[in-house]
């Protein structure tokens, strides 16, 4: 993922919407019900996990906030809410993206995928999920949805990565439990299951 790009996009978006973003006030900015001056469409339609959802989005609302608090998709986690950890990683048009650091309005024409969208309708796990189970990649599990989405994004772009490429691909995702080795084992196995 190009972190600089997503951060820059986020900051530009915030400036455009007139909202304040501070590290401590991010929750507020993300959940604000009131609307700053200037007309911004609130009811927007976004494609999430293949379904078009209509949702009331505040101008300065982050994608993570919309997913978690408006749509109940709590699989996307917030570890820092400021682009440091990757716990909130989702795919936007196949690109792994920190959902805490993009505005929902900026992805309204895009295709958003979250961890909830990976499982098949019959409950079959996505190969990355299955591989992570088999390798027991998660420890506490809090970073796991982010690691999974980063891995899915990586494998779409590069279905047979070397371990080193997988390491680079997941390097934007912190795991405080230190389960990196097991996550990489999971990615390599997923590439095999394909």
């Amino acid at each position: 993922m190009n972190l600089n790009l997503t951060r820059r996009r986020f900051i530009k978006g915030v400036i455009a919407s007139g909202a304040a973003a501070t590290t401590t006030g991010v929750w507020v900015a993300a959940n604000g019900a009131s609307r700053p001056a200037g007309a911004v469409e609130r009811m927007i339609r976004i494609n999430i996990n293949g379904q078009v959802r209509t949702v009331d989005v505040a101008p300065q609302e982050t994608l993570a906030s919309t997913l978690r608090y408006k749509l109940g998709l709590t699989g996307t986690k917030l570890g820092c809410n400021r682009g440091e950890c990757g716990a909130c990683t989702v795919l936007v048009d196949d690109v792994s993206t920190y959902a805490c650091s993009v505005l929902t309005h900026s992805v309204k024409n895009g295709r958003v995928e979250t961890v909830e969208g990976l499982e098949a309708a019959d409950g079959t796990l996505h190969p990355v999920q299955q591989a992570f189970v088999e390798e027991l990649s998660p420890q506490c599990g809090y970073c796991t949805p982010g690691q999974i989405m980063a891995a899915v994004g990586l494998l779409r772009e590069n279905p047979s990565p070397t371990r080193e490429e997988a390491r680079m691909g997941l390097s934007g995702n912190i795991c405080r439990c230190g389960s990196y080795d097991s996550y990489l084992d999971g990615v390599m196995r997923a590439a095999q299951i394909g």
């Binding site: 604000g32 820092c80 992570f132 027991l136």
Partner: protein
């Protein structure tokens, strides 16, 4: 011994939820009518709240109420160290002063901005040595230290004494705490090599990935608290009393926990969860309190930093004859932690030192809240002592592995301040296994070889933590359909020990895992008390309780079968989920039939009478509520005496770039000695996770504060520099000795903490090796320190500085 479950991998019941995002952490819950609490935290490091004017805030639409320390502590705040729920006497930046609840977080935050809090600024201190110096500021209102059971006190040294210590000399002042054994003077006199130096290790925050958010509501007089915890029942036990609600009326819900590392083990390390509980009680609505990363950093705990002095003596044959330590440990803003004592204890155990003297004093600083963090004390000293051992080996002309083998603890040894015997110890086997897997004999020839700007460093490290408690309870049940329910209060921290320790019960009854349910996740599922899930103890402690409870169940099953089919319980055997006559396998009852009969009989079979006398009160409540429903096995584990050690050894090769001070970890082999392996994948995860933590301790992690205003400069993951995937090797090779411990029914001991210490030691040893054996006497050793050393530049940071460099 051939086991059915022990030593086998399995799919823990919660993994599916972790990979699908379905498992719920505290912040993932909502409840009808839920409102949101936000915190106002102290912006200054040491102050007294003089006045709170919330008139304007409380008049706002959508604001439901305010909670202050006066609400929580109507009789005044307890005058002791430790985090308070809310406080009027903040001693660190970010300490919660008040909480306000509103319809949404924006309204709450806006209302908080309208609250006027008048603080009286008090002198603050960042570096414990500045406080220790005569005339220096004190971190707490009653002094600069806290003496257990006595209260706040003040420790002062003369300016000369502090300066002499900073200059690297042995401190001369009377310490708060000591232990000693052996004849230190004689041991030093017998030493052929004596090393003496001041040293420092940094404090740094836990940074658990999940912020400590919590949600609470009251229903029919009962408090329901969704929270985060390492130790489900042990934490719930303490949390009820913090909130002030009887245990019977408290339901703690905690399906999953996003990391703890020592600071979510006990209720007093996470009292902030009482805020939504108290607020909900006050305003009669469900209250969600989301905690930000900044807030988590401030109150989420931090490792104690050390400012120490060490003198070690080695005999000509490499025996560590003497270790003399004097440690000032940084108690931070809220006190807590016995790291220094544990550090000295660890040296005594890991190196079987003939004579040890420990002197220590804990001093506060207005920095993060301190408390146990993965291997508290043992792991800091592991990183300091390993390069000293290498130095001794070099000076005495002894092989670096050999000096460790000479001093290694083994079966039959004693160790530590109390000279406690080990339950078992297989460190020699671990050293041998690691050296072979690492191919040390060949790799050591590359030590200090230079290729352009790159220099190879080889490191060897050892880690220790006592790893097993006792005195806890177990509950298992056999239901009418023949399923086994293992009630487990361990908590779901990510070690999977809530599940792996439950397998000890399945093992006793030889039941297929598919027929076993682990009952956990919330206390109204009626759990037994367990030890807090800290100190690497869960595997040892809770395999004992679950094994014992299953044995009680089995005895009852045989008794019921004998009552039904004649003869004595001892005439019966079991297998394939049946109890049958040993003499005639066709005569017997299925587990389901026995359970049904037991339910009919009631009394002692279903937990209605004859409970073990020593059963803890918490467990008694659970048993009482479960009584009559199913056939029950109930067990109280009598305390054991000896020390079940967790040991790890690690071998590391690095390639140090002396032009940048950065290094790549080329290879790392880490071997655990934790008795019989219960769950190989879980053990591997502890070893690799511990390795990442060890790399952080030895190479990166620290927190910094602005010396002028005492503001934290490290408020998140990046600034605290917790290791990312790029800081750690892409493959860490793991292994284990897998020899049984005799004081555990399945032979198991713990591993989580030494897994970190050994890696920290091994990396510190490798860094030193790559720099011609230079000793930094510091953890972490960061790139700037390495470059300065290589360039021959003396750092202008104040010696032994803690919490900032001030260089």
């Amino acid at each position: 011994m051939a086991y059915m479950h022990i030593g086998k991998d399995f799919v823990p019941p919660d993994v599916n939820g972790k990979v699908t995002g379905r498992i719920k952490y505290a912040e993932d819950y909502t409840r009808e009518g839920m409102v949101y609490a936000r915190l106002l935290t102290s912006p200054i490091p040491h102050a007294r709240v003089v006045n709170i004017d919330a008139t304007e805030a409380l008049a706002m639409d959508g604001v439901f109420g305010l909670l202050t320390a006066d609400d929580v502590y109507p009789d005044g705040e307890p005058q002791s160290t430790g985090l308070k729920v809310l406080t009027n006497e903040p001693t660190l930046v970010g300490e919660p002063i008040l909480a306000l609840a509103a319809i949404d977080e924006k309204t709450a935050e806006t209302a908080i901005s309208k609250i006027s809090v008048t603080f009286e600024r008090l002198p603050f201190v960042l570096d414990p040595l500045d406080s220790l110096a005569e005339g220096g500021p004190d971190a707490y209102n009653g002094g600069n230290t806290y003496v257990f059971r006595q209260g706040f006190a003040t420790e002062k040294w003369s300016a000369d004494q502090v300066a002499s210590f900073r200059a690297g000399n042995e401190p001369t002042a009377e310490p708060q705490q000591t232990f000693a054994y052996g004849d230190l003077d004689a041991a030093l006199a017998s030493s052929a090599f004596v090393y003496e130096s001041a040293f420092t290790t940094a404090g740094y925050p836990h940074q658990s990935m999940e912020p400590r958010s919590a949600m609470a509501y009251w229903e029919n007089g009962k408090l329901y608290l969704h929270g985060t915890s390492q130790s489900l029942s042990a934490l719930a036990d303490g949390m009820a009393s913090i909130v002030g609600v009887p245990q019977e009326d408290f339901v703690f819900i905690n399906e999953a926990t996003g990391g703890g590392f020592g600071q979510r083990a006990r209720a007093n390390s996470i009292p902030s969860m009482a805020i939504p509980a108290k607020m909900s009680q006050k305003i009669n609505r469900p209250v969600m309190m989301r905690v930000t990363r900044d807030e988590e950093t401030a109150i989420g705990g931090a490792r104690q930093g050390f400012q120490g002095w060490i003198k070690c003596g080695f005999k000509a044959d490499g025996t560590m004859a003497a270790a003399d330590l004097y440690i000032i440990s940084d108690n931070g803003g809220k006190g807590g932690g016995g790291d220094a004592y544990s550090a000295a204890d660890c040296i005594s155990i890991l190196y079987q030192t003939e004579a040890v003297r420990f002197r220590g004093t804990s001093i506060g600083s207005n920095t993060g809240h301190r408390g146990a963090q993965r291997g508290p004390g043992q792991n800091q000293i592991a990183a300091i002592i390993a390069p000293i051992l290498d130095k001794a080996a070099q000076e005495l002309g002894i092989d670096r592995l050999k000096i460790r083998e000479i001093n290694t603890p083994t079966n039959g040894d004693v160790g530590g301040a109390q000279r406690t015997p080990f339950t078992s110890a297989y460190m020699p086997e671990a050293l041998k296994m690691g050296a072979e897997q690492f191919n040390l004999a060949e790799r050591i020839t590359r030590s200090r070889q230079r290729n352009g700007s790159k220099v190879t460093g080889i490191g060897i490290g050892q880690g220790y933590h006592n790893a097993g408690r006792s005195g806890m309870d177990g509950i298992v049940r056999l239901t009418a359909d023949g399923r086994l329910k293992v009630h487990n209060g361990v908590g779901n921290l990510g070690t999977y020990s809530y599940a792996s320790t439950s397998r000890a019960a399945a093992e006793v009854l030889q039941m297929p895992w598919e027929h076993v349910d682990v009952v956990t996740g919330r206390t109204d599922r009626h759990l037994p008390i367990t030890s807090p899930q800290d100190g690497s103890n869960s595997i040892f402690t809770n395999t004992r309780t679950n094994y014992g409870a299953a044995q009680d169940l089995l005895a009852k099953m045989k008794e019921i079968t004998a009552m039904e089919l004649g003869g004595d319980a001892s005439d019966y055997d079991f297998g394939d989920e049946r109890v049958f006559k040993s003499a005639d396998k066709s005569v017997g009852m299925s587990f389901a039939q026995i359970a049904q009969k037991g339910i009919e009989l009631g009394g002692k079979f279903t937990g209605e009478s004859d409970l073990p006398e020593e059963l803890n009160d918490f467990t008694k409540i659970s048993v009482t509520r479960l009584a009559g429903e199913s056939l029950m096995g109930i067990y109280h584990d009598a305390p054991h005496n000896n020390n079940p050690p967790g040991f790890t050894v690690t071998f590391t090769e690095i390639e140090m770039d002396v032009e940048t001070g950065k290094y790549d970890i080329i290879d790392m082999v880490t071997i655990g000695d934790c008795g019989t392996v219960v769950h190989p994948q879980g053990l591997k995860n502890q070893l690799v996770g511990g390795a990442v933590w060890g790399i952080g301790l030895a190479g990166y992690e620290r927190h910094l504060y602005d010396p002028q205003n005492g503001l934290p400069a490290s408020t998140g993951y990046w600034q605290s520099k917790i290791p990312t995937m790029m800081d750690t090797p892409s493959k860490i090779r793991t292994g284990w000795v897998d020899l049984p411990d005799p004081e555990n029914p399945v032979g198991a001991r713990g591993i989580g903490e030494p897994a970190m210490g050994a890696v920290a030691a091994s990396l510190a040893s490798a860094i030193s090796d790559s720099l011609d054996g230079h000793l930094f006497n510091s953890a972490p050793v960061t790139a700037d320190m390495i470059i300065n050393h290589v360039a021959g530049v003396t750092s202008d940071a104040i010696p032994l500085a803690q919490n900032n460099f001030r260089g």
